[in-house]
């Protein structure tokens, strides 16, 4: 039962343009969502989060949007930089419990 899905295994964008990473979930009980970034041979790094009571959270170049009715969230990176090239995971929580991760999307930002 895949409760958190990232349907695009990979995304390639040009430096300076916007990267949009998508995540869908099926469990309406999820009340908190997080995005992590992972470089090879490293553990995931926390990027940004959003509570289900909000529809947008922004931190510098990173913005997360949440559409509860569609059970969809997205991470926008503007402008994209080559150093952003990594695997991006979305994760969802219920009542601050365990994190359920998506499969990840590999972002490649081309110079």
């Amino acid at each position: 039962d895949q409760q958190v899905k990232q349907n695009s295994p990979s995304l390639s964008v040009q430096e300076g343009r916007i990267s949009i990473l998508n995540c869908d979930y099926t469990n309406s009980m999820f009340d908190y969502f997080l995005w992590y970034k992972k470089y090879p041979a490293e553990g995931p790094t926390f990027l940004i989060s959003i509570s289900s009571i909000k529809d947008k959270n922004e931190d510098g170049r990173f913005t997360v949007f949440l559409n509860k009715s569609a059970k969809h969230l997205s991470l926008h990176i503007v402008p994209s930089q080559p150093g952003d090239s990594a695997v991006y995971f979305c994760a969802a929580l219920i009542n601050a419990g365990k994190s359920t991760f998506g499969d990840g999307t590999t972002l490649t930002v081309k110079p």
């Binding site: 908190y32 997080l34 992590y36 041979a41 490293e42 553990g43 995931p44 790094t45 926390f46 990027l47 989060s49 509570s51 995971f89 929580l93 601050a96 419990g97 365990k98 994190s99 359920t100 991760f101 998506g102 499969d103 990840g104």
Partner: protein
């Protein structure tokens, strides 16, 4: 910047042997976790630990698995009798508060069971 340290980075073990994976979480963190990622698959929750006891565990975390915080700094994951399907990257993580604040992950231990 404080980091979560995991040792060893790579462990090879024979099927049926016991392994202990070690982690040193960030010193002022209160919540501790183990996750694993089988090659090509998603990151999966194993167990969370708070106030010296398991607060939540997944169905993966069966009787073969145990966790300990023996001395206030180390956090260990023990697999009593390893199976081939235990081969994975094991990540330790810690957080100052609950998971909504995001975890700090270690770099992982790659466990290979042969």
């Amino acid at each position: 910047e404080p980091e979560v340290t995991q040792t060893p980075s790579h462990q090879v073990t024979q099927m049926g042997q016991e392994v202990i994976l070690r982690c040193v979480p960030i010193s002022n963190h209160l919540y501790f976790y183990w996750y694993r990622q089988i090659l090509g698959q998603k990151v999966e929750f194993l167990v969370s630990f708070y106030n010296n006891e398991i607060s939540e565990k997944s169905e993966i975390f069966d009787d073969q698995f145990s966790v300990e915080r023996p001395d206030g700094s180390n956090f260990t994951l023990k697999i009593r009798s390893t199976k081939l399907e235990d081969s994975a990257m094991y990540f330790c993580a810690s957080s100052v508060g609950q998971a909504i604040y995001g975890y700090t992950f270690g770099s992982g231990t790659r466990l290979t069971v042969v």
